[in-house]
């Protein structure tokens, strides 16, 4: 089947099999390798994308469901100021994510800060539960998010 959708702001058309998984389409057909296959069961967060504005595991999205949708991957987020806020927060907390978890962490934090600019500890914990990390301590990740929130607030105050 042929699907039309918006990928990182660009209209996109592809021939697919209905049951192909979005994570495979992104990586193998479109060369966007930021979403990574981890558990393939919706648990680890390494394949996260924004799907119609909500976080979603691309390993649980078949190609037919992509039809008519709006998909933003980590590569799309990287073009934005929001991404820089988060990246600087991670650098300041010395919590630079590896390639395995970067998509999950950055997109989840982006979604969190968009809906609650000053997130509670509980909301931060919930966000981190959906972006598994095998190495960085929880404390450092929480700090990175707090710094990212500060960066975002400062930037918005400056009207940028």
């Amino acid at each position: 089947m042929t699907i039309h959708f918006t990928l990182n702001g660009e209209p996109t058309e592809m021939d697919v099999q209905a049951s192909d998984l979005l994570v495979d389409l992104l990586r193998l057909k479109l060369g966007l390798r930021g979403a990574r296959p981890g558990c393939l069961l919706g648990q680890c967060g390494s394949c996260t994308v924004l799907f119609n504005g909500s976080l979603a595991p691309s390993c649980l999205i078949p190609a037919f469901k992509v039809y008519g949708s709006d998909v933003v991957t980590i590569e799309g987020l990287m073009q934005t100021r929001e991404y820089q806020d988060i990246e600087r927060g991670f650098a300041r907390a010395e919590a630079q994510p590896c390639r395995f978890c970067a998509a999950g962490k950055f997109l989840s934090i982006h979604a969190l800060l968009s809906s609650s600019p000053n997130p509670t500890k509980q909301a931060i914990q919930d966000t981190l539960a959906g972006a598994w990390c095998r190495c960085t301590t929880h404390q450092r990740l929480i700090q990175a998010i707090e710094y990212a929130a500060e960066n975002r607030e400062r930037r918005l105050r400056r009207g940028r």
Binding site: A18, S19, L55, I61, P62, K65, G130, A131
Partner: protein
């Protein structure tokens, strides 16, 4: 017959969906797909020859609120339902929905899908039962309303006729003074010894007017005692130790299939709820 390239329909309207489903009752009704996909047997998804995707059906995503009820379209995602805010849906339901999966799963998983998993009482189900929610079931040429408590049949099947779809969930908005929802483990992984406990209480002038409490163990066994609930109506709060012990006794034996951990946790939470009604009525947990 499994197929990697099935015919997929994207109806825009409910009547189109019901018409298609009537014509092909063996089609797979595909909502968020989080259950369907996470239960695929291998790396790839095998689909039946016809799939009905409900994602574009606007009628299934409507919310309407009156003074007494809120109606949620069955195709609403868990994330969108939570965006309605704690003030618009009963707090126990809000807490239960917030505990479902990681945030990314909540972004695509739907309320209807949560209700319609056969042989499993998933996270939202016991709370909706306790709130006495009802579901609207539609097929071409027919509509009926069913209490959520009667949707899961004792043999594990669902009370769904061929070609029938859950279209909305009507949740009563009663003025509960205190609400509680607690959850351990995950209904789909028995090794996590899953358990939920939900409690609702309405108190007036220090007297219990109505109290409801239920739980699920391993997403299969529903725990509830109407005898205990009846015994507590009319009592003054805080309940004394003796009254709590008597209520626990009235709850009766827990079913044999519960593990020791589930049993212990359920008993503790039951006691905690009864002893803390007063605190709960000032701060719903």
């Amino acid at each position: 017959m499994e197929d990697r390239n099935p015919t997929v329909y994207f109806p825009d309207t409910l009547s189109e969906l019901l018409q298609l489903y009537r014509r092909t009752p063996s089609a797979l009704l595909y909502a968020g797909g989080t259950y369907i996909l996470s239960h695929r047997p291998g790396r790839f998804l095998e689909l039946p020859s016809t799939v009905l995707s409900i994602q574009d059906v606007q009628d299934l995503r409507r919310v309407s609120r009156s003074e007494r009820t809120i109606e949620l379209g069955a195709g609403m995602t868990i994330a969108r339902t939570l965006q309605l805010g704690e003030q618009n849906i009963p707090r126990a339901l809000y807490v239960a929905l917030s505990s479902i999966g990681p945030p990314a799963v909540r972004g695509i998983a739907t309320i209807g899908g949560n209700l319609a998993i056969p042989a499993r009482l998933m996270t939202a189900v016991p709370v909706l039962i306790l709130l006495e929610a009802r579901i609207e079931l539609r097929r071409q040429g027919g509509v009926r309303w069913l209490p959520v408590s009667r949707f899961h049949l004792s043999d594990g099947r669902l009370d769904l006729k061929p070609g029938e779809v859950i279209t909305r969930v009507r949740v009563p908005l009663q003025p509960w003074s205190g609400q509680m929802f607690r959850r351990f483990g995950t209904e789909l992984s028995p090794e996590s010894e899953p358990l939920t406990v939900c409690g609702l209480v309405r108190v007036s002038n220090g007297i219990v007017e109505e109290i409801r409490l239920n739980g699920t163990a391993s997403g299969r066994t529903l725990l509830r005692s109407r005898t205990m609930e009846a015994e507590l109506v009319g009592r003054r709060i805080p309940l004394s130790r003796k009254e709590v012990e008597s209520a626990e006794e009235a709850f009766g034996e827990l079913p044999a299939q519960l593990t020791d951990i589930q049993r212990d946790r359920f008993r503790r939470l039951l006691t905690w709820f009864l002893l803390n009604i007063q605190q709960l009525t000032t701060r719903s947990a």
